[in-house]
């Protein structure tokens, strides 16, 4: 029993990301049911929920790895028009390579484990058409440096690196082309708590320095609390609650959110 919020009046910029009324079912399982999400430029949108809540499916859709049964997805960028779910495979690949970066929980999904770390970052640039070795090397190094990756390990293959370092390589790869949108799928889950804090700190610093729009998915409220400006709570493929991060954590409205927040505290 709260007040219905108005449409934005002061902030007149368009959201960078808009997902509207997305539904997806696998057989009889409804993975997503009429889910909508927006993110404004420079904003960090957090999505929390337990496993099976549909949060990762939603994120994969934002990375155009999956197509919903119904719904639309737009990015407010020059030369990017219409419902992105309608793009063909080629256009999707180019869009994802140049405008969207992603960091997966499992580095095997995002990295070539036996190639060099710098090569993993360079691949992004190669896909975008960079053909100078010196430029590739310089840009890959810069991206790894921005991700606070130790440069003496530049050419070490990720398979020889610790989990935290692997995530930094993923992050460097994701930001190498200065994407408009950075997607993070449980980026610190499975890392030691101290390593987790450092990776989160790097993310926070990058976000502040570059004002990248981020969508971060996690079941860990601490991660969301550290990074997100706004939070969406998902359960069983639906959004049960959305709001400013501090409001969700301090004054959760929905029974499920209260349970989640109290379980944390």
């Amino acid at each position: 029993m709260t007040l219905t919020l108005d449409a934005p009046r002061i902030v007149t910029t368009h959201p960078l990301l808009q997902v509207h009324h997305v539904s997806k079912s696998y057989g009889s399982v409804n993975a997503l049911r009429d889910v909508s999400a927006i993110a404004y430029p420079g904003e960090v949108l957090g999505i929390v929920g337990e496993s099976g809540s549909g949060k990762s499916t939603l994120l994969r859709m934002m990375n155009l790895e999956e197509t919903p049964d119904t719904g639309s997805y737009t990015l407010d960028l020059p030369d990017v028009e219409g419902n992105l779910f309608d793009l063909d495979r080629f256009a999707r690949r180019m869009l994802c390579a140049t405008r969207i970066g992603i960091v997966y929980q499992n580095p095997h999904l995002g990295l070539l484990m036996k190639h060099s770390s710098s090569g993993n970052v360079a691949e992004r640039l190669l896909v975008a058409g960079e053909r100078s070795f010196a430029t590739l090397r310089a840009k890959a190094t810069a991206a790894l440096e921005a991700s606070e990756f130790p440069l003496d390990r530049l050419d070490a293959p990720p398979i020889e690196l610790s989990g935290g370092m692997q995530q930094r390589v993923q992050l460097a790869k994701a930001i190498a082309l200065e994407p408009a949108l950075l997607l993070l799928d449980e980026p610190t889950t499975g890392l030691d708590v101290s390593v987790q804090a450092l990776v989160l700190d790097t993310l926070k610093r990058l976000q502040q320095e570059r004002r990248i729009t981020m969508v971060i998915v996690s079941h860990d409220l601490g991660v969301i609390k550290t990074l997100a400006d706004r939070v969406m709570v998902m359960k069983g493929g639906e959004v049960v609650e959305a709001g400013l991060a501090d409001q969700i954590f301090q004054d959760p409205q929905h029974a499920y959110t209260q349970q989640l927040v109290h379980a944390k505290l």
């Binding site: 495979r89 080629f90 690949r93 070539l112 190639h115 060099s116 710098s118 090569g119 360079a122 691949e123 190669l126 896909v127 053909r131 100078s132 070795f133 010196a134 430029t135 590739l136 050419d155």
Partner: protein, 304 residues
Amino acid sequence: MTLHALTKPWEPMSYGFLDASAKREIRRKMIKAIAVPGCQMPYASHEVPMARGWGTGGLQVSLTLVNPSMRVKVIDQGADDSVNAASIRRFIARVAGTPTTMDTLDADLIQSRHRIPEEVLREDQVLVLQVPNPEPLRPVQPNMSIARQMHADADYGRMWLQLYEQIVRSGRVMQGASYPSLVHGRHVMTPSPIPRWDVPKLHMAKHLTILSAGREKRIFAVPPFTRVEPLVFSDVPYKVEDHADLTCHRSGTRGFFMNEIPQDDGTSVFEVSDSAWGVKAIRRRDGEEVALGETWYKNGKMPS
């Protein structure tokens, strides 16, 4: 009218060994391959009396193209007189009644394994290259279905990454033979295991090149006057083998691709790889009137 008048007498085999339908299929696939330069076209790859992997792909193309007036040359690693080359040459001559030659200038059809002759090929000549592995993406993408999708999308980032990795790890591009090359600005192909030395010969060449893999059942082509550009970084130039300053110890010819022949004392001597070119050079040195064609490389340099 009798049945005899309507039919041909029994013959032991079709002209050129392959039956008419097989040749028709290969002709159609060759036309497709020429229409989309560098793009691999699947074909049936019939049985020929030779083991798969020994040039059956090239042989089927040669058998499809030959007619009794075409002069055929077959080379293996540059040599006309190796067992494999001699056998294939003899087989084509037997089943198609074609004259044969070892001189590149006289040949109408050249079937080759791993080399392109040193003398410039003309518009009226066809080069058939035997291909063991037609898929340049295989080292980076073992799943061939995905590899085909990557070709369709011109998604060659991984190929470039492979070169990047080689430079990072070894300081230079390690790829020797089968150097991946972009054909007509669209498809990346393997030029078959020819040395890096030979790849520039395909670029804007006057002749038609057909590449055929019998075991893998793929045909692709480089039509005349088509761009063939080895994948290289803009600031790391393409390098051919360091053979420009080597001299053939038998013919004295210099500035061509050489075979290294190790000696008992640990040193090496070199012998020109294109044996027909070496033979002609020796005959000319010995005072014979021999026509030497124009070569792609001049003084060990490929004119750009």
